[in-house]
Symmetry: C2
Subunit: 211 residues, 2 copies
Amino acid sequence: MIQKNKGILTVVSGFSGSGKGTIMKELLKRYEGQYALSVSATTRNPREGEVDGREYFFRTREEFEQMIAEDALVEYARYVGNYYGTPRAYVEEQLEAGKDVILEIEIQGALKVKEKFPDTLLLFVTPPSAEELKNRLVGRGTETMDVIESRLARAAGEAEGMEAYDYLVVNDVLETCVEEVHHLIQGEHRRVSRNIEAISEMREELKSFSK
Amino acid sequence: MIQKNKGILTVVSGFSGSGKGTIMKELLKRYEGQYALSVSATTRNPREGEVDGREYFFRTREEFEQMIAEDALVEYARYVGNYYGTPRAYVEEQLEAGKDVILEIEIQGALKVKEKFPDTLLLFVTPPSAEELKNRLVGRGTETMDVIESRLARAAGEAEGMEAYDYLVVNDVLETCVEEVHHLIQGEHRRVSRNIEAISEMREELKSFSK
């Protein structure tokens, strides 16, 4: 019987300003119970309104380094003096439970995850054009030209890794884009390489019928 | 600008009794203008009601062998004394026009096409289980057990090639299945390897902005 297999680990990266956060929030709302968003662990202090286990798992430096030592993180990085990482246990539990797990991380982390879990699906979210990305970054109207230029430089850097991803997700109309992400992940469940066992069972059964 | 690229060549194979013909007919009807179904050439005689250029391009043996000699076929095979093949010109014209071209052929042909056009997407249509396939073959109620058994043996043979395909299409509910095929092919347009040029343009543009 060919049925939905184990959950798929999907890493979503994309330009700052690509709207990936909004897309994921909408995806999880629209297909409740089907997806799980991975919550990162961090050593930085909680900001006002942030709840442990919702925005982040807040950990001390000692706890975090203990997790590193125990290989309890799928990937981790240091950023401005703090650790950020993806706890392995949560990801594996959700995948076993058949949920498709979404990690929102940048390219370096994405490549580390892919190395550890070669089955990972890598999606890169982009506006339809460089021009449009520029307009979105400028358009907020709240930033100085210095900030905008540093964002554009950062985007140019982010673009360096795009070829390592499996699919581009073009965020033009949010609604369409959410559906596209959903179809890419669900389509992935039908990939032959993820159904080798079911295929081989089916073949054996067919052979037994025709004897 | 990341836009829809060239059409995608999709080969659809599947068990006899999988309903692949019905799925494709429905797909073409529902998304008129977006897909093109490749018409095969053959040396067999037209049956009543068959129209040249619709069911098949009917060709003489000399004409067909001329096409082989000119490499004018994407793939061809001999079956019960007649030639069957896929004319290359039609496929290439439709792809250039941005249409996704569907070829309905069996596994040997599928592998030959993939060899010539490595970008080909290979879909394999299957009922949800071997039991269900058996029921469908038996269920028509019009065949002798001999015919049914030879069909099951053929299905067991067809199953040998399943691993060479990219995706399984599970035909349980027709409506759902047609949508699934549509999403698999459209999702394929977003594959990074099919957008290398657009990605590289975007990167250059972003670099020019941030200078």
